[in-house]
Symmetry: C2
Subunit: 264 residues, 2 copies
């Protein structure tokens, strides 16, 4: 049965889809069978990235591809009917994928939705990217402006807490990882302050902080071609220093997921 | 009657709330009476930023404050009842504000919602921040990966088009401004490519591109104190070069809004 990784953060633009895409390529490179489920039926960033990749592959590029699907929000007007419809379609795609892949990566939208909550409730690993910012932190916990003490959990931490309890009912556990994304090199004071609060929050709320991704144009420049910097090395073209560093960041991230060995 | 500025972009994390906050402070500094309406009832980033500012003011800081309100999503289960409820509460706050302020700034959530569409339908100025990224561009238009020709409008451009038509029915026009946010200094090639597509898109879709904001830690490190770099000069403390540059970026942005002269 596949390991399920959910990219979750109600905060928009925190890097869920970008992280998901780079994990997909890195895990495929490791020889794993990978599938993705896109729960952002409107924007479909991950799916469009993969469609761009499929087009490049069809045009001759030697690229590994995952299985991929989109689960859209229900059009049913009745509240309970819509949820039943979403649950049925989501579980149907998920059950199909977990039986014939090693990893299923689920990309959530940047807003609260029933589908997103379903995904959070079935995650083996929940990966939450966030900007190196007290604005992003504000969705996880309220922080005192003077001494940075933690005043209490915010919406997203409460959502995760609730879905974790639900998962515990079936004996499951969730490995919750929080990673910073788009980290700059010039923000020493802010970076230190955010790290310090995150470290305390990790103990209190129950997640572990993992090394994330720097702000690098290579993480966003290859979207139309469906490529990542992990793919660039193979064409024989030489990489920039930033691309080499990005490859290392992605591989460090994959290692921190602590997945079962390949091919079990 | 106040000039209504809407911060809109369905793409999450594009900088709506950050841009809104800095516009608020800049416009207050110009002597305008400013009000804000937060349509992100869940995350409330702008409102929390303003509450932090109100707290600092209450503790003695000499800070100008806008009027501010949140309009939450309806809890009514019935679809049409919920929309009627949201429309009534939104218009009630808006009508109150436009009668006694010079500018009303409306911050939209990073997702499609009825309240967001209502705001788009009553904007005098629609300001759309976006990351310097083909991923963000993908929500405005589909672009050919090989020659970057424009294949057609995407979801968000269609939403704006539809709300513009609606506004035209009452004889109103919308000045649609698109600004890049979090622009880096190291991304020359990607920056040039995005700019080139945006320039063509502007003609075709009907918006104007305005100078935006660079990626600077000062845009996010003062959230907990409710401050912006526009406030820092007054305490007499010296500003960093980045803070000085940020102040100029914000003032250039305000100027590009082409608002009526202060105090009419
Ligand atoms: N490490 C990075 N370096 C540079 N740009 C990045 C990085 N991560 C993300 N971006 C850019 O930031 C923006 C937001 O990223 P992304 O779309 O992956 O976030 P998201 O959490 O999936 O957003 P949403 O909530 O809208 O689904 C995009 O323009 C993307 O190209
Ligand atoms: N110019 C900038 N420089 C540095 N950081 C920025 C800048 N603009 C925004 N940010 C940071 O980027 C993140 C997203 O910004 P913001 O919350 O303003 O976007 P948004 O469009 O309102 O998001 P949402 O869709 O979730 O409402 C925040 O962590 C914010 O602090
Ligand atoms: Mg996404
Ligand atoms: Mg916002």
């Amino acid at each position: 049965r596949a390991h399920i990784i959910v990219l979750g953060n109600e905060k928009g633009g925190s890097g869920k889809s970008t992280s998901a895409m780079h994990l997909v390529v890195a895990l495929l490179e490791q020889g794993r069978r990978v599938a993705t489920i896109d729960l952002d039926g409107r924007q479909r960033t991950l799916t469009r990235y993969l469609e761009n990749r499929a087009r490049a592959a069809a045009e001759g590029a030697n690229l590994l591809l995952p299985s991929y699907a989109v689960v859209t929000r229900s059009e049913i007007a009745d509240f309970h009917g819509a949820q039943a419809d979403e649950r049925q379609r989501f579980l149907s795609v998920l059950e199909d994928y977990v039986g014939r892949h090693d990893v299923v990566i689920i990309d959530c939208p940047g807003s609260d939705s029933f589908l997103s909550r379903l995904a959070h409730g079935c995650a083996d690993t929940l990966l939450t990217p966030m900007n190196d910012s007290f604005i992003d932190l504000d969705l996880i916990a309220r922080v005192d402006p003077d001494d940075h003490s933690i005043l209490g959990p915010s919406l997203y931490a409460e959502l995760v807490w609730e879905m974790r309890k639900r998962r515990a009912l079936t004996g499951g556990t969730v490995d919750w990882l929080v990673m910073r994304n788009r980290v700059g090199h010039l923000d020493a004071r802010n970076k230190r302050r955010v790290s310090e609060v995150l470290a305390r929050l990790a103990k209190r709320i129950g997640f572990r902080v993992v090394a994330g991704l720097s702000e690098r144009v290579t993480y966003r420049e290859l979207f139309l071609q469906g490529l990542t910097m992990l793919d660039l090395g193979r064409t024989g073209s030489s990489l920039t220093m930033s691309e080499v560093a990005a490859r290392q960041e992605v591989r460090t991230l994959v290692a921190s997921l602590d997945l079962p060995p390949v091919g079990r």
